[in-house]
Structure formats: structure tokens, C-alpha cells
């Protein structure tokens, strides 16, 4: 990649980008490959925090805060508790199947195809259009332009909460 060419003058932002990239990709792989699923859940939380770091690098601190509060604060903890509830020793030695090879090949094909497409596009020469936007602008946009979507989203959150409670009350009456 182009990152290695200008190694001599590594600014703070570039160093942060490289560190976040290593953190995000390695913890994403670890989330899927860790033997114990609990470690996978913790690794997923680390990946979500690295994504929040990317958002800060991209001048979107509000999205980064939202990501940390919603994902790392709520979803990751929820996943952690569920993993502890459904834990079984069977998964400690995962069965080797042909699906692993198929998955690796598909992932490599996808990555190389999209990567080549992106590298050959003109996206590499795009410069920053503008800097950070204020929180107030995001709030005004949410209320004025997208208020219907906001209401529907609130309804969806309520419905999903009710649905989750209903599902959690299912007893094993099926046989």
C-alpha cells in the first residue's frame, strides 16, 4: 500500500490511522477465530472502539460518541451476557469443515475485487471537502429534514424491545 512510501515523515494522524487499522482488522479476525466465544465478544468490543477511533479521525466526533455509547456501552455488554448464557464446551474445538476453505476463498476474492476496483478508481485523489460540522447542525438536520425517519426509528426500537421481551419469555413447551 501507499502507506509505506513516506515512512520518514509519519505524522500523528497517519500513525493513529495505522494503529487503528491494525487494531480493527486483527481484533475482527480474533473475534471470529478466538477459541472461547467470550474472548471473541471482548475482541468485537475492541473492534467497535477502533471504529470509533476512525470516526474521530474522520472529523465525526458525534458519530464516534454515539458508537461508543450504543455499541461498546450497550450492544457489546448485551452480547457478552448472551455469550455467557449460551456457553457450551462443544465450541472449544470447532469442527474443521470445507466451509472454512470456501469462506476464505470467497473473502479473498471479494477483498481483491473491491480493492482493485477502488485502487483503480479516482477516489485516491479526493481531498477533504470540509472539516467538522457542529453538533447543532446535526441536531437541526435530524429534527427538520429527517424527523419522519427519527419517529419511525423510535417506533422500531420500541417494537424490537417488545419483540425481544416476547421472545425471551418462550418456554420449552415444544416437546
Amino acid at each position: 500500500m501507499k502507506l509505506n512510501m513516506e515512512r520518514e515523515e509519519l505524522t500523528m494522524v497517519e500513525f493513529a490511522f495505522i494503529a487503528l487499522t491494525v487494531m480493527a482488522i486483527s481484533s475482527a479476525i480474533l473475534a471470529l477465530e478466538a477459541k472461547e466465544v467470550v474472548y471473541g465478544a471482548i475482541s468485537l468490543a475492541i473492534m467497535l472502539m477502533a471504529m470509533a477511533g476512525f470516526f474521530i479521525l474522520l472529523d465525526a466526533p458525534f458519530v464516534a460518541m454515539f458508537q461508543i455509547i450504543v455499541y461498546v456501552g450497550a450492544v457489546a455488554v448485551l452480547i457478552l451476557f448472551t455469550v455467557m448464557l449460551v456457553r457450551r464446551d462443544k465450541w472449544l474445538k470447532p469442527p474443521v469443515s470445507g466451509l472454512t476453505v470456501v469462506g476464505i476463498i470467497t473473502g479473498l476474492i471479494l477483498a481483491s475485487t473491491f480493492g482493485l476496483l477502488l485502487i483503480n478508481s479516482t477516489l485516491g485523489s479526493v481531498v477533504v471537502s470540509s472539516g467538522s460540522v457542529s453538533f447543532m447542525l446535526i441536531g437541526v438536520e435530524l429534527i427538520s429534514e429527517y424527523w419522519v425517519a427519527l419517529e419511525v426509528l423510535a417506533l422500531l426500537l420500541a417494537v424490537s424491545l417488545i419483540g425481544a421481551l416476547t421472545l425471551a419469555k418462550i418456554e420449552e413447551e415444544d416437546k
Binding site: 466465544v37 455499541y71 450492544v75 449460551v86 465450541w91 469462506g103 471479494l110 477516489l123 447542525l137 425481544a164
Partner: protein, 102 residues
Amino acid sequence: MESALQYLIVSVALFAIGVYGLIAKRNAIRLLFSIEIIANSAILNLVVFSRYLAVSNVTGRVFALFAIALLAAEAVVGLSLILAAYRIRKDIDVLEMREMRG
């Protein structure tokens, strides 16, 4: 040096990792992890294009907020489905769940 391309490459890498997990894993929780990873690469794309391409660049960030909230709802429903399946079947191997096969 500072371009949209580097973030998009990271996003592609995360997407490929997520697709690999969706295909190769049999534990339902791991499938949920894969979905979260893929969705996060999509959210990263939203924020990247919001910064680098848009004229009024609030829209991509607002959409990223919507996407994060949607994924929280999705994770809640998915986890409770996994819990219900575990309670009924004592197992969360997706290759073993074949009652609904047509």
C-alpha cells in the same frame, strides 16, 4: 496521503472478514459477530463519503447515526432469537437447525 482511499481499503478488508465469518462459522453468535463487522464497515463508508465527497456533509453522518441505532435494534432481536433457540434446542449450531427447511 490523506485520502478517502485508505479508509475504503480498511472497510473492504473488514467486509471480507465478515463475509468469511458468515460462510465458515456454525455458531450463531459468531454469525452475529460477522453481521456486526459487515455493518460497521458500511457505517465507515457512510462517514468517509460524508467527509470526502458530499457538498453539505451532514447527511452521511446523520445516516450513520440512523444505521447505528438500527443495528442496536437488530442485535437485540438477534440475541433474543439465539436465546430462544438455545432454550428450546439446547444448541446454537445453525447447521443443526433444520426444522424450517422446506
